[in-house]
Symmetry: C2
Subunit: 295 residues, 2 copies
Amino acid sequence: MSDFEQRLSDNAAAVNDVLDDLLGIAEGPEKVLGEAMRYSSLGGGKRVRPFLVTASSALFNVAERAALRVAAAVEMVHCYSLIHDDLPAMDDDDLRRGRPTCHVEYDEATAILAGDALLTKAFEVLAEDDTHQDAKVRAELCLALAKAAGDHGMVGGQMLDLVAEDHELGVAEITRLQRMKTGELIAISCEAGGILGKASEHARNTLHAYAHDIGLAFQIADDLLDVEGDADEVGKKTGKDAESGKATFVSLLGVEGAREQAKMLSEQAASHLEVFGDDAEPLRQMAHFIVHRSS
Amino acid sequence: MSDFEQRLSDNAAAVNDVLDDLLGIAEGPEKVLGEAMRYSSLGGGKRVRPFLVTASSALFNVAERAALRVAAAVEMVHCYSLIHDDLPAMDDDDLRRGRPTCHVEYDEATAILAGDALLTKAFEVLAEDDTHQDAKVRAELCLALAKAAGDHGMVGGQMLDLVAEDHELGVAEITRLQRMKTGELIAISCEAGGILGKASEHARNTLHAYAHDIGLAFQIADDLLDVEGDADEVGKKTGKDAESGKATFVSLLGVEGAREQAKMLSEQAASHLEVFGDDAEPLRQMAHFIVHRSS
């Protein structure tokens, strides 16, 4: 394991502790809801988005506890989106992070509600005093997350993905789709540090530019993994895009072209960070990791 | 139409205008998402919760625009919950407010996403500067709504309702179920005025007590409508509870007992409001309306 992978793993463990604490132990006849929320939130994952939250927060000396709470909130939104995307009416996936998806482990109704509850909980966490003493920061976090996750962000991207099955998309349209579906949540993960640390407009724009590039690089790497990855290692079914005839960066640019594009975006992302000096090393390493991961 | 019904109808029209404005016109290949959000939010309804927001806000001289935005946000959450509750995996309902439910009019995937997007949008609206100049108020609104709508509130209540099908519930358990499933959102609707108007602790507690009573009265009236109402007038299928053998206030207390209980709660709710004098007349009328409505 490289130093970076160790760092990523340590951060994932810290975020898991906070998630564990925030989600609490479910009680009452309805406790299956809380169990499903925990099942889908605490079941592994690299915790890329939480890492981006804590690494961007470290640039502005944000208290670790605050950063980890926001990291947990963003991860709750990510996990809710996976639960709903995996539903039979959506992508109909049985395997996620190497385990049965939520609706397979429980049932569809429980999965829908667990997703709803995780999304709602994310806003509860952000709005609580514990996240930041300044209410302006808390309200800004809620606003930024809602915009990133809503109909003009992640949910809109998922809708676009569903209707795209009947359309021939070009590179510009796939780029827009992925920016909405995965890019916006990655962007708020990077910008969260700037919000928590009340960073300058310039610093925030820099983080936004970095996030934009790694978001796209991340998605291209995902498309490559779907073609070249091993299901056991990736933890979910592969070869799905080709099977469904869906346009992806790989189908449009070819394997080599896609790999080159991802590498270029990763380098471009890192180059934005010069202004932060050595403090931004973890974010640079993440830009590299995103396109070189095997799962 | 009584004066009160006219007032309720005028308020509904004002809330619809704000919802119409906040939801905007959908564009892009994914516009079916925005259309489904509008379909399920702008398709009628008495707008009981929005009325409670504006009537409680009026007690503290809150600007009408702020109250209507919060009213719209609460209604978005209510509408999202109806979309998801109506899904085949949940209550499997085809009719809502006299029209096909969202997943019948569109499809299941679109309905799931439209619900997700409406929930997310509610927090966006609350967190925006336009809702209140004081960020503390905005963050408090987000927090209160998240608590009311989440796993310890509305979503938890829906889960409890689903698992209740396999349990024999008594009055105490049904009361808890309904307090979570419908009561908490009614409570935040009443308390929103106190939050927006920075009301005293005492005033907020008074609103909470009122909300608690009307919430329960509302649900008992709903159970009575399911037994005695006409599907055309109620706008959704009736007789469902008896058909499914589900325990309700009516099955536990009998029609007469339930009617008495609802009336008692309605009067008790109104009695809490004395401290507010004549200003609380709309809230008193609402307590009366809730148990005497025919739809």
